[in-house]
Symmetry: C2
Subunit: 475 residues, 2 copies
């Protein structure tokens, strides 16, 4: 952790930052806002040495260079909505915040690209695209407070990955600051560019441990003309798989979501959480939310209904409801988004965003539920997620327990994930929270290569140290 | 270039390879096939020290480790169809060929993935997907002879990038051998996996200079149910841009190709090359081939025709022909693929696969044509390409000249590319052929970072040395 720096280095670093930046850009002591003391990873608030908030790319490079020259580590902070502790401050480290470097720099309609600053809230990016007649498919619950630089640094996922891919796939060009303070600009606008290594890939999904993203060129997509959705009840997981195959074939590139909710989840979401309407009644083993983004309602809504009818006639579906309005679409999604209210109605719990090969998901759910019940009698665990993308969420808790056995639950879940060749994080990332479990999803060779990259770019371990992976293997 | 190895090292290396591999897997001297002496980059044939042709992943790791331990450099060879000299042998280096490590290892219908060996021809991969009820969108002229490992190592593009992305975006998992002989296996099947750095990205598009790909997990896509296509004649580049915007909006994710041919190209393709039918007559400044892959002909063909009718009524199109059959679709593509026959009917020439922001392409074509004519009076240059992806091809030559001024042409073209913020290679890569021009498309910071990565993974410069980028900056 940039180990050798002492009190005098810290003082000299703070003094150098205070000289370089004005009072709006350099905050220390009591001026450090409470929000900068933690992210959404539920770790204890930790005051950083100070917070730098530059408002141009060179400012980020200078801040990094000043810290590096004094051996002072740095923690990049965007919207602080990450769940894995990737933006959690470190005592003795300077926090570099992107909040003051916000705005859309250019929209190029011919190339269908948007150049944005890292500190722009996702919702602002979405709205600017919409106003220019385009669409930004990246979307997640924190859209109002997360910043695009954080979305890209963590390679955010979200609801429509099955159609549009992860955040990484929406990026054409990138500008970033390396751990030595070099500003590298590669604001490419072309979909195809094979002139040398695709360097930008290094900085997406590495959670600010290899570089800090300052600006990006995003792809713009055509606006969907209509949205169709249905909630289906199914009896067997094989039918879920068959329905997924039929959706891929029949809805093709218009398929925009395929969300599966196991019966235990459905009960908590529509009974325990109040005011969530059940679009279909009756008891089913699985509930599937299928969504299609079409071009024209006139042509595509009948296509969706005919497709669903075919699946019903084929016996895959026991019952289904089709959304008749955008209000219905929103109501259907509420059954899926009710998980966000579990903390209120079920209490504190462990939540997971694992990934698994699609075929083994139900077997995994059965084994995981059994293993949790056996080790922790009375443990409640419910299963749901973006099954079309191989991404499952789990919520698990001991109902009524004052102290939740979070560590025991994590160990059982992740061990079962490993047994099925899955990943401990499909979208939220590793940060600090999941770092102890990383070796369950990555081979020794992959971990060694990650460390080699970290050492190549950040030999002193100054950028977001201790997150994701350490410079050296633990003894 | 692995500089310090001498004759005794080479002998010892050859002896070690001969001990490890049988006679089918280790070829030296007169047994080296002529095809392994060069790729499709038109460089002088060069015999390698020998050719190793392992038939399992460990064999590739062992071959690399043996060469590395003797300080002998290695050149990976797949289908040898690359145009940039990336697989061109180097005197004193061992060629490691993937041709004997071929086959599909698994198709997982639930995850919609295929696990393939690097030595599998692209056409075999396409056919296996088709037989399993899926679709592999990667497609290029060399499909019968190129190998999937080469396609991935060069991040191949092709005709349908506007819809499906580059080869990189079709890969979920990868296995590769590092320059020190370590075999790293990461055969992930999940679309979403944020457990640490996305290491596989390093090995796609780096043309075998950072590692050798041995196996891959590919995404499988739904089979398109129908293909619609039209050739349109347009008067102005602004109309081309407006038509592209309308195609993105109106055809949405079904838009599978948007190819533009400038009038000079159209003349050579349909007059100079015999037997290429002109789907539309009359003289236009631009010819656009629009293709849509739909799901059902009954619904989607009328959609395509209505869309085209709207564009005609809006005055964007001067004339258009709609394909009435798959034979028509093939005939339309022949106007675009006629470029492959220019070598026969126009003679030897320089060809380019540059990339540019879409909005400036016509301005670029005008300036490039004028600059070539001025510097080389009588020079013929024609322009066409995957404009929807920002990728333009150029064919340029001095008609009738015994010796073509290839270097002078390249310098003019690449200088003009740089002036417009473009890339010297959209899809074919850098290899040896375009290496002298790389700095025209990449910033100093990017080049320094590429070198840093190369040094981190291959400190001795043993894997495909001298391709793409050198270990150290030229003095």
């Amino acid at each position: 952790m940039g180990g050798s720096q002492g009190i005098s280095d810290r003082h000299a670093c703070k003094a150098a930052l205070a000289r370089r930046f004005d009072k709006a850009a350099w905050l220390e002591g009591a001026d450090i806002p409470a929000r900068n003391l933690h992210d959404a990873g539920y770790l204890p608030p930790t005051p950083p040495l100070g917070v730098v908030r530059p408002n141009d790319p060179q400012g980020f490079a200078d801040a990094m260079a000043i810290c590096a020259s004094h051996g002072v580590p740095v923690v990049p902070q965007a919207g602080l909505t990450g769940l894995a502790g990737g933006a959690q401050p470190i005592a003795g480290a300077v926090a570099i915040s992107f909040e003051r470097f916000s705005g859309i720099e250019e929209i190029d309609p011919a190339s269908a690209t948007m150049t944005v600053r890292a500190g722009t809230p996702l919702e602002v990016v979405q709205r600017a695209a919409d106003e220019a007649g385009f669409f930004i498919p990246l979307d997640l619950g924190a859209r109002g407070s997360c910043l695009i630089g954080g979305n890209l640094g963590t390679n955010a996922g979200g609801n429509r990955v099955i159609r549009y891919g992860m955040a990484r796939e929406m990026v054409l060009g990138l500008e970033y600051v390396l751990p030595d303070g070099t500003l590298v600009t590669g604001l490419n606008k072309m979909i195809k560019n094979n002139a040398g290594y695709d360097l930008k890939q290094l900085f997406m999904g590495s959670e600010g441990t290899l570089g800090m993203i300052t600006r990006a060129v995003l792809r713009l997509y055509p606006k969907p003309g209509c949205t169709c959705a249905a909630i289906c009840g199914l009896a067997r997981y094989d039918d879920v798989l068959a329905l997924l195959g039929a959706a891929r074939r029949g809805l093709g590139p218009m398929l925009s979501a395929f969300e599966v909710m196991w019966a235990d989840y459905w009960h908590e979401a529509t009974v325990t959480v109040p005011n969530v309407r059940r679009p279909i009644t009756g008891d089913h083993a699985f509930y599937v939310l299928v969504e299609m983004q079409g071009m024209e309602a006139e042509l595509d809504a009948p296509r969706f209904e005919a497709w669903l009818e075919t699946q019903f006639e084929a016996g895959l579906i026991e019952d289904a409801a089709i959304a008749q309005s955008m209000a219905d679409v929103a109501a259907f999604w509420r059954t899926r988004d009710a998980a966000g209210e579990f903390v209120t109605f079920l209490g504190r719990h462990s939540s997971f965003d694992i990934g698994l090969p699609v075929g083994v998901m139900d077997q995994f759910a059965q084994e995981c539920r059994a293993a949790l019940s056996k080790a922790l009698p009375g443990c409640l665990s419910v299963y749901y997620g973006h099954i079309g993308d191989g991404n499952m969420h789990i919520v698990a808790l001991m109902p009524g327990a004052a102290e939740q056995p979070g560590k025991a639950i994590s160990e059982i879940v992740y061990r079962t994930v490993k047994a099925h060749g899955g990943t401990i994080s499909a979208e939220h990332g590793i940060g600090l929270v999941k770092k102890p479990y990383l070796a369950l999803s990555r081979s020794k060779g992959e971990l060694a290569l990650m460390r080699r990259l970290k050492r190549a770019l950040d030999p002193q371990g100054l950028l977001n140290p201790g997150k994701v992976i350490d410079l050296e293997e633990a003894p």
